[in-house]
């Protein structure tokens, strides 16, 4: 077996050195009824070529986004990732290292994470950010839990514009950890008055910008209402590229920002791995979940980095930790940092403008298709269309024509018949003029 260095000879020598007659003797602590004779009923070892063929055959049964006109978003966005990103994250020193528990052997990872934390804080307009969580949805649930710890209150008010998966993860976590959720219904095309729901029992209000239906909103007034009542405003961002153009959550008065960072540096990956971003105001940092990298000095006074404030964490605090998280999304965070470094300020702004221009252009074109209405007033790179018929069937018929047209809202809200005609459409810098022509034409024909 190509991954195992021991030879038959080595094994015999080592058993002799240990002083046991066979490998079975080393498994003697396994109770007899649980000892298995022979092999599990699975295929035997295969060479690299055979495994490559078997798995590539599965990949070939899928329609890759880049092979067709593609307009899906809904919390996962297809952007061009520069070749240097994947090259750098595949360096073995990054790829095959562990969580940086020995800082003298991990200054590379630690410095990159310090840069990541700084980038996330700058982008979100917050003062401090952690070294990543699993994804945006779990970051959202962690934000709610943190708001409850900070305010010592129970109820979280969740906007109807929150991504349904994020809401569902909050529901799952909350069902076991306790604390109430006030779930607002989705109300695409119009606003919601969340401020009137805030009272002395409110730990936080959770809103998303742009929201699930693509609408860009101003939450400054809501932030004031939250703060007047002693509650926190949690802002979720599922398309982080939007912050190249859109006013940041920090500027709007957010206390905690939880976001999905996939859009920068990371592939679609069929939904994972992605990277959860988590940022807050300075004063809340000791209630934050996850790893934090901090600056310090070594024995000779030179600047260096370490994991810090670990008295918040499970390996020190056990059942009193701020979260049970251990492994997070280190390599995806590194990809984020490298891509964002390549973009820089000028590149990110330009990328955001390309996305916005693509979406505005697409929305204007699709709105000319008979009986198709645009629901959004303001949007960034994703918007919601109302079709004259259920959107799921339209998406399936367009897929047959080789067009991935968007996400039928019914995929996420099957129980809401009033949303069945809604189609979520995203356009990034990867969409071509020909893609737009084909979607416009295809949609017109399918609806005819």
């Amino acid at each position: 077996m190509r991954y195992l260095p021991l030879t038959r000879h080595d094994r015999a020598d080592m058993l002799a050195a240990i002083g046991v007659p066979s490998i079975d003797a080393l498994f003697a602590d396994v109770p007899a009824p649980a000892r298995r004779e022979g092999l599990v009923d699975l295929p035997r070892a295969r060479g690299e070529l055979e495994v490559d063929r078997a798995i590539a055959a599965m990949a070939a049964k899928n329609v890759a986004a880049g092979s067709v006109p593609f307009f899906l978003g809904g919390g996962v966005y297809r952007h061009h990732v520069p070749a240097a990103v994947d090259h750098l994250i595949q360096r073995g020193e990054f790829l095959t290292s562990y969580t940086p528990y020995q800082p003298e052997l991990a200054q590379g990872t630690l410095q990159a994470l310090f840069e990541f934390q700084t980038q996330v804080a700058l982008l979100t307009g917050m003062e401090v950010a952690n070294a990543s969580l699993y994804d945006g949805a779990t970051a959202c649930a962690e934000a709610v839990a943190m708001a409850r710890r900070v305010t010592r209150r129970g109820t979280a008010i969740l906007s109807g514009g929150l991504h349904p998966h994020y809401r569902e993860v909050c529901e799952t976590y909350g069902r076991f950890a306790g604390g109430g959720l006030a779930l607002q219904p989705p109300n695409p095309g119009s606003g919601e008055d969340l401020a009137r729901l805030v009272d002395q029992g409110t730990a936080c209000v959770v809103v998303q910008n742009p929201d699930f239906f693509g609408e860009v909103r101003d939450y400054a007034a809501l932030a004031q209402a939250c703060h007047a009542a002693g509650a926190l405003l949690v802002v979720i961002v599922t398309e982080i590229v939007s912050l190249g153009m859109v006013r940041s959550p920090g500027e709007m008065g957010a206390d905690i920002v939880a976001a999905e960072g996939q859009s920068i540096g990371n592939a679609l990956n069929f939904g994972g791995p992605h990277v959860g971003l988590f940022a807050s105001r300075d004063g809340l940092v000791r209630q934050m979940p996850g790893r934090l990298v901090g600056q310090t000095a070594d024995a000779e006074g030179r600047r260096g980095w370490v994991l810090t404030l670990s008295t918040r964490e499970q390996h020190i605090r056990r059942e009193k930790a701020t979260s049970n998280i251990c492994t997070n999304a280190g390599l995806c965070a590194l990809a984020f940092t490298i891509h964002l470094s390549l973009l820089g300020e000028a590149g990110l702004v330009r990328l955001a403008r390309l996305n916005h221009a693509a979406a505005v252009g697409l929305a204007e074109r699709l709105a000319t298709v008979p009986r198709v209405d645009l629901l959004n007033r303001n949007f960034f790179n994703e918007f919601t269309l109302r079709l004259p018929v259920p959107a799921a069937a339209v998406v399936d018929r367009l897929a047959e024509r080789g067009i991935l047209a968007g996400i039928p809202v019914s995929r996420l809200y099957p129980e809401r018949e009033d949303l069945a005609d809604l189609l979520l459409v995203a356009a990034t810098e990867t969409v071509t003029a020909d893609d737009v022509d084909r979607l416009e034409q295809g949609l017109g024909e399918v609806l005819r």
């Binding site: 602590d29 599990v40 790829l95 052997l105 049970n324 820089g344």
Partner: protein, 527 residues
């Protein structure tokens, strides 16, 4: 026992004749660079404002639809070109130790070789360039891969169901404990307590607390296993589950596990197993045969998906039939016309605990883990467990005459020492670990588990050669001899050969600096 100088000369490379590096390490340079170790500023300190490492066209004329919500102020991101970025991150990478560079014996972390075929396959556009909400007809191969992975995991664990969405081990624990609480709640049997051995990973009690439970700690017996009598005494009608790691964090198989399972079940509780150490038994022991009801697997440990400096991981949970209906969404079912992804809690899925993360799980990790398992096959996976256990025991017998073994006898895939061998030397476990760094090894896990004093937990894994183990054993013996010879000062000064010497963690926590700020006075002061 050999003296440390003799032991060190024994480690001298016979091919290159390289002597132990005792000279030249203190030489000052003009740049602060030291040969291959190059000082590297933060990105933010290399800013050429307006510069960009990506060539993008200007957007065509468009009418903004942001409704006046444009950013008011610049973000503050630095501008650099691609060569500067590539050099920056290449230099940073050179300040990292990795399994690609050497032995990485972090106990309970299973730092094994990460095959590159798996990286290649995870990047196939048919997996990486796939949106999770594409129509089902366009992702049949992705569902097939996930279902195939589940099949392998079910056969290896002997358990009938696998929940695949958890994003890492601790997330898998959350999944398993939530299904247990949901099952108890459904049967009207609200229980409040979880039993956790003292030797458990910190994630275990943290997870139980996140599920709304109180935690009772169970002591270890003198053999490093769960004290069965104490466990039985703690069990009662209020106990929801036992969370046990097996093999445990002392590197020992819980040889009374069948009695433990029987006692837990007799009390009406569930048996949760932390499968972080599954590498020791994969292909040889099926957790189902041990009476386990729920078990998470770390694909980034046993199944070799890379750790990436702290993730991403993947933590599938194998579930007994009694817990399977409560598994998180989504899951895959076999229907007449193929595989179907169940995403909503209606019909047969109404018992589910709900969704634990966005979308369907860590697909990129699934591809890598399946490629790993298919490469090894049933025979190779069994060999993995055997070689992992063989390597740990070989290392044990090489060093146990000098280092103090915490519990006598054979171990599984990792071996636990305490700090008795350092008694009265003035050298601590931490010092010993830092001295290993100068010898070119990543240290073992330190001060964990908490059940022995000054723990040193060593897990070599099956992907180390006998020669690598011998060299590591020689260094452990040499360092122990040096400590006993009274050379504590050299340990306190270690590491000396790394890009940074020992770092001040106390001050880092006292005055946290968690990000760079554009304050010239402050950055200069920190230099």
């Amino acid at each position: 026992m050999t003296g440390w100088r003799q032991a060190l000369s024994a480690t001298r490379d016979q091919t290159t004749g390289a002597p132990p590096a005792e000279t030249g390490s203190d030489m000052a340079t003009m740049t602060g660079n030291r040969g291959l170790q190059i000082e590297e500023k933060l990105l933010f300190e290399q800013d050429s404002p307006g510069h960009c490492g990506v060539d993008l066209p200007e957007a065509l004329q468009f009418r903004s639809r942001l409704g006046g919500l444009e950013r008011d102020a610049p973000i503050g991101l630095p501008g650099l070109s691609e060569p500067q970025i590539v050099r920056h991150f290449t230099r940073l990478s050179q300040k990292n130790y990795a399994i690609d560079s050497g032995l990485y014996p972090l106990g309970s972390c299973t730092m094994k070789h990460n095959p590159r075929l798996n990286e290649k396959l995870a990047r196939l556009p048919g997996f990486a360039d796939l949106h999770p909400l594409q129509p089902a007809t366009t992702v049949a191969g992705a569902l097939e891969l996930i279902d195939t992975l589940a099949h392998w995991l079910k056969l290896l664990t002997g358990m009938p169901a696998v929940a695949l969405s958890p994003a890492a081990g601790a997330h898998g624990e959350l999944c398993g404990m939530m299904t247990i609480r949901a099952a108890l709640t459904a049967s009207g049997d609200a229980r409040r307590r979880i039993l956790v051995p003292e030797s458990a990973h910190g994630t275990n009690p943290a997870t139980a607390a996140a599920c709304g439970y109180a935690i009772d700690s169970i002591p270890a017996n003198p053999r490093g296993r769960v004290d069965l009598a104490a466990l039985k005494a703690a069990l009662g009608g209020d106990v929801a589950a036992l969370m046990l790691t097996n093999p445990n964090t002392c590197g020992l198989f819980e040889d009374e596990i069948l009695e433990i399972a029987a006692a837990v079940h007799a009390a009406g509780a569930y048996f949760y197993c932390d499968g972080a150490n599954f590498n020791a038994i994969v292909g040889r022991v099926r957790p189902a045969d041990l009476g386990i009801d729920a078990l998470h697997l770390n694909l980034h440990k046993t199944f070799s998906t890379p750790h990436g400096g702290g993730g991403p991981g993947s933590g599938p949970v194998a579930l007994a039939a009694t817990l399977a209906p409560y598994a998180p969404l989504p899951w895959i079912v076999h229907a007449a016309d193929g595989l179907v992804l169940v995403e909503h809690a209606d019909g047969p899925a109404h018992h589910t605990i709900g969704r634990l993360k966005g979308f369907h799980g860590q697909m990129g990790m699934f591809v890598r883990a399946l490629a790993y398992m298919m490469s090894h096959g049933a025979d190779g996976l069994k060999q993995v467990a055997e070689d992992a256990v063989l390597n740990a025991n070989y290392l044990r017998v090489r060093v146990e005459p000098v280092l103090s073994l915490a519990y006598p006898g054979t171990c599984m895939h990792e071996v636990l020492f305490d700090d008795r061998f350092l008694k009265d030397t003035g050298v601590t476990t931490l010092d010993f670990a830092k001295a290993l760094i100068d010898e070119g090894f990543h240290p073992m896990t330190m001060y964990f588990p908490l059940v022995v004093h000054g723990a040193l937990l060593i897990e070599p894994t099956e992907t180390e050669s006998k020669a690598a183990l011998d060299q590591f054993a020689d260094v452990l013996l040499g360092l122990a001899a040096r400590a006993r010879a009274g050379d504590a000062a050299s340990f306190h000064a270690a590491p000396r050969l790394t890009p940074r010497r020992r770092l001040d963690e106390t001050n880092a926590a006292r005055k946290p600096v968690l990000r760079w700020r554009p304050d010239p006075v402050r950055t200069e002061a920190a230099e």
